[in-house]
Symmetry: C2
Subunit: 307 residues, 2 copies
């Protein structure tokens, strides 16, 4: 039940209506690893950082079963840095700064110990890097999950479509699904995207939940209504981590188990937004997670008794 | 299990990205009655129309158990007319024309035969009229459900709040809930609105479903993802009709049965949007409705098996 996680490990500076932080730990692979390591203790990280990235952050994840052999450390380089400001609705944000730094030279070489992994999570990255990782695996994983974003649809569409054709599960948000398919209707968009290759498509809708499409089936997972969304940074990656973490733990990639995995991912994301950065993920226990998942069960539970 | 429905019976002219109609039957009470009459055959309509309103439209509803004694016909007057244009996302629309016509003189007098009704549905109307109907009932109904809209929050807030304090269930959409409460967080907005009086609050989110709040409990009903939303006019009223129709049929106003009623309302609304005006509601059978409700069961059904 080993899981490869490919993505960024980085610094973020954030402004939300609730506060501001100058430089905290971030990056898609960071959030995925914190989330997935609740369910799976054999995670193999693939990323690149500068000499400025704190060793103690990697040590904290290593204690949870995350391997860093595949993380390149460029001693005299600086880690990827992103800065953004969220609007009141927390669904829209402005990017203030994007400093690629060492990410500009990211060309991961998979260590031998990473071969034979059963699950592969491709965090949001340039499609060429995602493709390179898939191609370096001698044996195709049992399941490949891919996250991406609108930026690549605008700047590298052909390469993006090629990678989409190689994966089992694609994660996008609703506006990205519309952009990728050219269809306004989410149902039509889902059909077109499935025709590009992925047998499973997850469309994330933030506070409105997420949809899972598979053939002609659809599953609607709600988001837990929260009193405050403090900082949405990393919520999508945390969702992905909970999703693939549950699948890697159970080794069951059926549609039915993917529905459960989406609830697990939604529960993890609902923790992530409660504090700045990954800090909330670093303090929760399995008991907290189980309680939160039970709240989801209560949230959607109804009896059909039409008399 | 009699149900009073108060609202408009009107003409609409509509433009959507899929087409245009010049003058079709509309009005909140029309949609509520078409929807609720699938579940309850003792409906007492309260409205006002001009001499131009087709008798055959009332005859069609009368066959389904809808009484029109409380509908004032102003022979030399014209019925309320609304014209609007929907944008591509179908969630936003421009009002092109609002001709109040006979609605400007609407001052309903409840017939004696309408007393002792157990359920009261107050469709979106000037709050003074909604209040007048409540006050005319000698015995308070078992359940009063009220719909309203942002227009009254801007033009008659004090009177609106007074009526809100008199009802059991309030229906608003998410932006209206924020406007009414002054809170951006939906959870905080729901708490503030419940403190105004209604023990139950339903927040409608269009294609993102609906939330039911009751004390500290919350239920999330999804909307069925649809291939095409042809015309959203009346979807909220149709939802309300299915909701109160199911409650009137079952005579059970528990939180648990309200969750079921929301699923019934959501299923009815999903039919409404498939064609212009109420035409789709006029052709569906109970079998269609049951099939659609079962689709909702499939949509949200998942197993929690965390192994």
């Amino acid at each position: 039940m080993s899981l490869i996680v490919v993505g960024t490990m980085a610094f973020d500076a954030l402004e939300t209506p609730f506060g501001k932080v100058d430089k905290i730990i971030g990056g898609s692979a960071t959030y995925v690893a914190w989330s997935a390591s609740n369910f799976c203790n054999n995670i193999k990280q693939v990323s690149i950082v500068g000499g400025d990235f704190p060793q103690k952050e990697m040590d904290a994840l290593a204690k949870r079963g995350v391997a860093f052999e595949g993380v390149e450390v460029v001693k005299d380089g600086k880690s990827f840095f992103w800065s953004g400001r969220y609007h009141m609705d927390m669904n829209t944000r402005d990017t203030l700064v994007t400093d690629l730094n060492v990410l500009a030279q990211f060309n991961p070489q998979l260590p031998d110990a990473y071969q034979d992994c059963e699950f592969l999570m491709l965090g949001n990255l340039v499609p060429a890097v995602q493709k390179s990782v898939i191609n370096q695996l001698k044996k195709r994983p049992k399941l490949i999950v891919m996250d991406t974003m609108n930026f690549w649809m605008e700047s590298a569409l052909d390469e993006l479509k090629e990678v989409i054709g190689m994966v089992d599960v694609l994660l996008v948000n609703d506006s990205e699904a519309r952009q990728l398919s050219g269809e306004f209707s989410i149902v039509k968009a889902a059909a077109k995207i499935q025709a590009m290759g992925p047998k499973f498509l997850i469309i994330k809708k933030g506070e409105h939940g997420a949809l899972l499409f598979h053939n002609n089936q659809v599953f609607y997972a709600p988001a837990l209504p929260l009193e405050d969304v403090f900082d949405p940074t990393g919520a999508g990656d945390t969702f992905a981590g909970g999703f693939i973490g549950h699948l890697a733990k159970t080794k069951d990639i059926s549609y039915s188990n993917m529905k459960t995995a989406i609830i697990v991912g939604s529960a993890m994301a609902s923790f992530c937004v409660e504090k700045f950065g990954p800090s909330r993920l670093q303090e929760i226990t399995m008991e907290d997670i189980t309680d939160r998942i039970n709240e989801f069960v209560e949230l959607v539970n109804f009896d059909i008794n039409l008399v």
